[in-house]
Symmetry: C2
Subunit: 257 residues, 2 copies
């Protein structure tokens, strides 16, 4: 899915720090960075990456994200990585035997949003690829995030886990309408344009003996109105429809421009 506008600076939404604890493969760190920048997160911290840092594999998999983000911060313990944080979320796929709040990704994002508005520094921890976070890391966190997924097939790779958490964060930062219809160079047809079309269509259908059963006529007319109203035609489409009627009856269209 292409679509990056390279003329725009990559947005920084001032969201949580993402902390990868003991990540193994550079590729996964790169995928995590890419997912972060996709969602306006720019603060990546690493605790003891197995294969060292910097990582050419991470650079390659980040599709340019790492170059555009501030430098990754390195730490030698989870405690050091969260030293400046006020609230820390530990992502885990399996339940841990600890009495602490468990959020979904969505509710965690909402919780982070409120805390960041209150000027808290927040971070999200992700564990190593195969094993996830150690219990000691979870114990140091204030809350757990478990993403609701198919219980019979819930294993996500690291980049995907980061993507879902970052995505939920980003959805709170943007105000995209749930549904809109871009009109391009045209505008929705006004009622009078549609009415004119209906009347012309009806006249031509009468002239061409479309309504064979006079008793059915009002219902058929109503159904045609319903169809053409449901289509939410543009003014241009109404003009095109006039042209179609003209073409079919063998006339030059009266409204064509």
């Amino acid at each position: 899915m292409t679509g990056t506008d390279k003329s725009i600076d990559a947005q920084d939404t001032g969201g949580p720090a993402v902390i990868l604890v003991n990540p193994q493969m550079g590729e996964n760190i790169g995928a995590a960075a890419r997912a972060m920048l996709n969602c306006g997160l720019q603060e990546l911290r690493l605790v003891n990456p197995r294969d060292g840092w910097p990582s050419p594999q991470a650079e390659a998999m980040s599709s340019g994200a790492l170059e555009r983000m501030p430098p990754v911060q390195l730490f030698d313990s989870t405690a050091a990585s969260i030293a400046d944080c006020h609230y820390v979320y530990a992502t885990t796929a399996r339940p841990r035997d600890m009495v602490k709040p468990v959020f979904t990704a969505r509710s965690a994002a909402a919780d982070m949003h409120k805390r960041i508005q209150d000027r808290q520094k927040v971070a999200v921890l992700f564990g190593a690829e195969r094993t996830g976070l150690e219990n000691d890391d979870v114990a140091q966190s204030h809350a757990v995030v478990t993403i609701p997924l198919n219980p019979g097939f819930s294993s996500l790779n690291l980049g995907q886990g980061v993507l879902l958490m970052a995505y939920e964060w980003y959805q709170l930062q943007v105000d995209t309408p749930d549904r809109h219809t871009p009109m391009g160079g045209t505008e929705p047809a006004s009622h009078d344009l549609l009415q004119e079309l209906f009347e012309r269509l009806e006249t031509e259908l009468d002239a061409h003996h479309f309504f064979r059963n006079e008793g059915q006529r009002p219902i058929m007319i109503r159904n045609l109105h319903t169809l053409l109203t449901r289509a939410e035609m543009t003014a241009q489409e109404v003009r095109t429809f006039h042209g179609i009627i003209s073409a079919l009856i063998g006339k030059k269209a009266p409204l064509e421009k």
Copy 2:
């Protein structure tokens, strides 16, 4: 992130078909399959996969998802792949010059959910890795889905695009509480247990001359109550706290079991 419970069948939520149009790399098809099964989607259709089908690369990247899903369906045109569908969503990252509804991933999932409840067959189209869907594919679709992402860095890979759409679908299928606190083998402390703890703490603090300023005493007591109430202690933690007081004052704890 590990956590798959292999004793559970992978859930099929009866959601939309996912159609990959002209996918290039088998690896991406596998990643898409994995993301689908993570989110309870099991119907994968391919239109002219460049490197043929079946694909060992896809099998490997799917982490077992392809083995657990019904066989992938192959088509030689987008039109053939959507022939049985009533409503089709085209995912695109960039705006197209077509007057049709544009949904977010979240609102598209809600729309799909309603249509599927009305027994419509729905599908989501994803285009080739580099180029996305052709305009002709978008024109055949009823609606467009554009996932809100960082406009300065919105490029997702195919598996990630499928994951976000599938994730939004799945969130409507589950009823996970926004926040819950699993209690393990214990239960929240009742008010009388807490009251007993407060009173004992206050008595011992008095005995040990903690409150040097009698005027500050009520405020300090109130602050301690506030702290210990905010912690939402479990019954076990109250017992542990009694043990701590006993240990610090050099006594065996009266409430220890």
